[in-house]
């Protein structure tokens, strides 16, 4: 019996003393940080309401609400092998929710891209399906196709013609044209994002994603808040402009 126990112990020791190759397959802690900026200036909750930012159109903007959904978040290696990071995240800058996200995954060392969708693709934009987003009151009316907001960005602006602070609601959703309610037209305006060249080596991984809020107002469409400020959800063309501008909002911080 004692001989058997000795053999078993030896076997366990041999198995646990793995080679270097196995070390690479160890679980790594992946941390994704979302760092919000206006151009190069970091924006935090403390800047809400009071701090003024200038858009490409020279509108002065203050922020009161900034929250958005990223979905289908994956790390993809050079051979297009996907590692799921999260189905979706509701990131709320003012409430400081999900500004940093951690997960343990087994990853082989190599070069990866971080892929995600800003908002939900039509396939995932299921009306009333996500209890946490319902609870956060993030829904879109069924008359506009239902599902969820991609982003709620509220604040106030001034410029040479609007001298008193005036509200804006830069709310991104799936574009919907309901001028003829019997024949609504919908277009998926979620934004696929791929942040490339993330080197995964031994040890834990920290990925810093820069979210440049100013880009919503400038690239490629210079945004004029005098004409596009509120009631943008049912504005099909405005949603398409938002979608185009959103493509340059997310980038990889060089320090990642």
């Amino acid at each position: 019996m004692l001989k058997f126990l000795y053999s078993l112990t030896l076997l366990l020791c041999l198995v646990s003393c793995s080679s270097n190759e196995d070390t690479i397959l160890q679980s790594k802690k992946i941390t994704v940080n979302f760092v919000h900026k206006w151009d190069d200036v970091v924006v935090t909750k403390a800047d809400f309401n009071s701090k003024s930012f200038e858009t490409e159109n020279e509108d002065k903007v203050s922020i009161e609400l900034y929250r958005y959904v990223l979905s289908n978040i994956k790390l993809v290696d050079a051979n297009n092998n996907e590692t799921d990071v999260s189905d979706y995240l509701l990131i709320d800058l003012g409430e400081e929710k999900n500004l940093s996200f951690e997960i343990d995954k087994i990853l082989i060392n190599g070069t990866y891209s971080l892929n995600f969708t800003f908002g939900f693709s039509d396939e995932d934009n299921k009306d009333g399906e996500y209890a946490d987003l319902n609870s956060a009151n993030f829904n879109v009316p069924t008359s506009l196709g239902g599902g969820y907001h991609y982003m709620q960005f509220d604040g106030k602006y001034t410029n040479t013609t609007t001298t008193m602070p005036s509200g804006f609601n830069y709310h991104a959703i799936r574009a919907a044209d309901i001028t003829d309610p019997a024949n609504p037209v919908y277009e998926d305006t979620s934004i696929p994002i791929s942040l490339t060249n993330i080197e995964v080596t031994d040890g834990d991984i920290v990925i810093n994603v820069t979210v440049d809020i100013s880009q919503w107002f400038e690239d490629p469409n210079t945004w004029d808040l005098n004409t596009l400020n509120q009631m943008l959800m049912p504005n099909f063309d405005a949603q398409k402009l938002m979608s185009a501008n959103g493509a340059t909002v997310f980038s990889l911080d060089n320090d990642s």
Partner: protein, 356 residues
């Protein structure tokens, strides 16, 4: 060696499976219960907030209910929680400002009480000053305009009462009766106050239909270019009918009551108050934190053409220079009819919520 291990193992098992000693047998174990969550809430919302240190029990809820309706908490035994939170009025009163001890008048309209376990941020009262239901229940007892009592007196009265000592023992064991246990019991009862059986709930469950006018009213509610109520007050997928967040909804140009601003000390929060649920509006007039509007028509008129600008007005308030979105008379009427489909008379008459 192995024989020794086996022996030790049996000793351990024997010790861990020992019978209760005589003291344990005398301790009453309260019966834990779960909230009766409406199916719609279960399907659409995340789980209600139940603190781990104050699980619901049959005995705790019953004790909380008795305390809620008992004026023993007030300085002169004249005022109970139910004085300002009447179950027949969806747990508010119909006064602009509630009347406390010795006829003293407060400065805020009493909030109705229901679906409190789904206030996920747990910021209670109009200004969010109370973090958790338990802490909220502390305040009225010592507030000079409400119950004007002190907790030491309350504890003494309860300890010397003919029934309460045994009820506390059943609910919480042999812990001395104090303010912590009182607010825990009241909070347990308050969490059971669930309203989820209005006409609109039945419509969502496929049990009834909406009239054309009610359906039009829902459309006004949900259209960003019309009422745009849904951004703060929920939607068919958020059956709370509130976001429980703080907004300045354009009531005043200057503020005599700072609301959230007085709590946070941040001038950017001045004039912000928590969005109330739109459930049970048929029973909860007058409206707003200061009860300034007697009727729903006045409320709708305010949002339609009565908005007043200020530095902290919520960006969701639209066309402020025109006073609001200027709904048509028909849209206003339809919106009102829809809002009334959110009232739940079953909630008022639930026997579990009445004075025991």
């Amino acid at each position: 060696m192995i024989r020794n291990c086996t022996f030790s193992f049996f000793i351990c098992v024997f010790l861990s499976c020992s019978s209760d000693n005589s003291n344990d047998q005398e301790t009453y174990t309260p019966i834990e219960i779960s909230l009766e969550v409406p199916k719609l809430f279960e399907d659409k919302l995340i789980a209600p907030v139940i603190p781990v240190n104050n699980r619901l029990t049959v005995e705790g809820v019953a004790l909380g209910r008795k305390l809620f309706f008992d004026p023993i908490l007030s300085g002169d035994n004249s005022v109970s929680c139910a004085t300002c939170h009447d179950p027949k009025k969806a747990f508010t009163d119909n006064l602009q400002f509630s009347e406390g001890i010795n006829g003293r008048i407060g400065t805020r309209n009493s909030m109705p009480l229901f679906n409190l376990a789904w206030n996920f941020d747990e910021r209670f009262a109009w200004d969010g000053k109370e973090f958790s239901l338990e802490k909220q229940a502390f305040e009225p007892v010592t507030n000079s305009k409400e119950m004007n009592n002190d907790w030491k007196t309350v504890a003494t009265r309860l300890i010397n009462h003919s029934e309460y000592p045994e009820l506390f023992k059943q609910a919480f064991g042999n812990i001395p009766v104090d303010s912590n246990l009182v607010v825990k019991a009241i909070a347990q009862f308050e969490r059971t106050l669930i309203s989820g059986n209005a006409k609109f709930d039945k419509f969502l469950r496929g049990e009834t239909t909406l009239t054309t006018q009610e359906q039009n009213g829902l459309d006004v509610f949900m259209q960003e270019t019309k009422g745009d109520c849904f951004h703060c007050h929920g939607n068919p997928n958020n059956p709370l009918w509130t976001d429980n967040q703080f907004h300045n909804n354009g009531l005043d140009e200057t503020f005599s009551d700072l609301g959230l601003g007085a709590v946070t000390g941040d001038p950017n929060d001045n004039g912000k108050f928590r969005s109330p649920s739109l459930r049970n509006l048929a029973f909860t007039s007058p409206y707003m934190h200061d009860g300034r509007f007697t009727t729903l028509d006045e409320v709708i008129d305010h949002y339609s053409e009565g908005l007043k600008n200020s530095t902290t007005i919520d960006p969701l308030m639209k066309k402020i220079d025109q006073g609001g979105v200027n709904l048509t008379t028909q849209d206003k009427a339809d919106l009102k009819v829809f809002l009334l489909t959110l009232s739940d008379s079953d909630f008022l008459n639930n026997p579990n919520f009445q004075k025991p």
